[in-house]
């Protein structure tokens, strides 16, 4: 176990998997210079055949990943900002997500699409989207939203070894977040969530970047006499429904926190699952804390009111625990 930054954990995962398997190749926008630091040093180590800068041509990049995977490689395709995935969406939605299924399972498509998502840095509406809801709806790609350096490393290594298209989202601006990362060849199974903090009064199911806020909210709630359990699904496809339902069965209350826009967000999907399968254990309505249905505004003042805040989570937790707090 060693203390590592998020970006270091991701970088190590890439190094280790490329070292382990020479069929792993990586290409994308500015991966040689590495804008975020995640691909730093890979070119020097693995050379220009396996590490390639691409033109800003998302359609051919995302589709070439499919063709290379079908032909036996394990491409990691770096899209830089999540919003740029919209430009490459045909190849992801129509090709990567469907080619195995519509050809009757003839092939495996081991692809990782990497992208940075999320707001909070005044990057504006076209560099701040959180896109996992879109990919959750495709039905043929796995979706990972890791919240800690350890989870990021373990899940990215698993994603590269997975025989399916996997979307791996990094959180913008959080590359410096530090955490303990296990040593050795550390992988985590995709589809297994994690209880980041145990509690008894309310389950706060937080996705990706929102886990950090949920942990802060849980601390404040503790001081207010509310014991919050923080549930981190870690991957949205597949989704660890069992872990979420078990937590809700224990607490009887659920808040889902998502940095995606509210309508059809992961929070909406998880709320629906709790309503369908965990209704009997609920003592209060399931609540969603998410971004309003707008493109992220530029001004920090406006951006702050759109992004979920610790105070929002604390307020909603108090609301759902209203009776308990009153007593």
């Amino acid at each position: 176990m060693a203390r590592k930054r998020m970006i270091q954990a991701i970088n190590e995962a890439l190094f280790e998997e490329m070292e382990r398997d020479r069929k792993v190749i990586l290409f994308g926008e500015d991966v040689e210079i590495s804008l975020f630091g995640d691909t730093k040093g890979l070119l020097d180590r693995f050379g220009p055949a396996q590490i390639r800068n691409t033109p800003i041509s998302e359609t051919v990049m995302t589709g070439a990943a499919v063709g290379a995977a079908a032909a036996g490689y394990r491409p990691v395709c770096h899209l830089m900002y999540g919003n740029f995935m919209y430009t490459g969406m045909d190849s992801i939605a129509n090709q990567a997500a469907k080619l195995r299924y519509m050809t009757g399972g003839q092939i495996k498509l081991p692809i990782v699409y990497l992208a940075v998502v999320g707001g909070g840095r005044s990057a504006g509406a076209q560099h701040s989207d959180v896109l996992h809801p879109l990919f959750m709806n495709l039905g043929g790609v796995k979706v990972i939203a890791a919240s800690t350096p350890a989870d990021a490393k373990g899940l990215l290594k698993a994603a590269i070894r997975d025989d399916n298209p996997v979307i791996f989202f990094q959180t913008a601006g959080r590359g410096g977040d530090a955490g303990d990362v296990p040593g050795g060849d550390f992988t985590l199974p995709i589809g297994i969530g994690d209880i980041k903090q145990e509690g008894t009064d309310v389950s706060i199911i937080a996705i990706g970047s929102m886990v950090r806020l949920a942990m802060q909210a849980a601390q404040e709630l503790q001081a207010q006499g509310i014991s919050a359990e923080v549930v981190d699904p870690r991957s949205l496809v597949p989704l660890d429904e069992g872990l979420i339902l078990k937590s809700v069965a224990k607490t009887g209350r659920a808040i889902v926190v998502d940095e995606a826009r509210l309508t059809c967000s992961a929070a909406s999907e998880i709320a629906a699952i709790i309503a369908e399968k965990g209704f009997a254990s609920l003592t209060a309505p399931v609540r969603r804390v998410a971004v309003p249905d707008v493109g992220m505004p530029y001004s920090p003042v406006l951006e702050k009111v759109c992004l979920p805040q610790v105070t929002d989570i604390v307020r909603v937790a108090n609301e759902v625990c209203g009776k308990k707090v009153a007593s």
Binding site: V60, G72, P75, R100, Y101, K108
Partner: protein, 328 residues
Amino acid sequence: MESPLASAEGSDASLTAIYRRMMLIRKMEERLGEIQKTGALPGPVHLYIGQEAVAAGFCAHLTDRDWIASTHRGHGHFLAKGGDPKLMAAELYGRVGGICKGKGGSMHVADFSKGIIGANGIVGGGISLTTGAALAAQLDGQGDVAVAFFGDGAANQGVMSEALNLGALWQLPLILVCENNGFSEFSPTDTVTAGSIAERAQPYGVPSLQIDGNDIKAVLQAADEAISRARAGNGPTLIEARTYRLRGHVEYEVTFLSKGYREQAEVDLWIGRDPITRTQGYLVEQGITPAEIESIETEIIAEVDAAFEFAENSAWPDTSAALEDIFA
């Protein structure tokens, strides 16, 4: 590894083998057109009739290690690359014995074991996939190549420019074969396409040429040059094969189109340039007798009969299959 066609290249046997492949495509598709009228096919079919020389000519130079990707008009490429007509027919019937277990249908026939990435329902969709297969071939270093077949409609998708740029930068073993068949769905090419498609390669420094796609000899020569260039590591080529879609965009279109979009005289003109008839002419020049040509047709018809008999006798998929093959 050599394909049966490539190994006999240049000989009389070669052109006969290529002709057989063209005839197989033609007869399979004529039968599909008839069956479509009976309602036996669950989904739409887009026929390749009139364009057979392009698929057969290029695939004659390819082995199972080489990759191709195709279009919504993809039966011809599937069969030309060695796809099994029985498995294709069963796929179009939506049966479990189909090449994709009935999950893909006409627009998704694929056989990865034969290097057929498959037909594709998205215009231009196969171009990026082929670019990736070309990257894999380059990394493998075995001299394999990837051929993208697409139409003039796809030439107007941005991905063709993206692939030309990337293919040129990385010197990928990529052959872009644009089959200009005169129509983007229901729009005549000249109403939606500016300038020359072949010339679109020039700014990228990619060699390109326009050929008569209904002349098997012209196709074979252009394919040989482009594929040899790619195998030697000298990068991509764009070929615009001028041909003509003798059938509609989709079978049965007359039942829903409010008006026609071409003159019969134009169709008749191109019937006079039928690639099958022209290839027969070459065979006769090589000394193949009309009786031998006729016996080829008879054999092919028997093969087509067997393919559709197989399809009709193949079972429907078990309903549990709907939720299988999503993830590996």
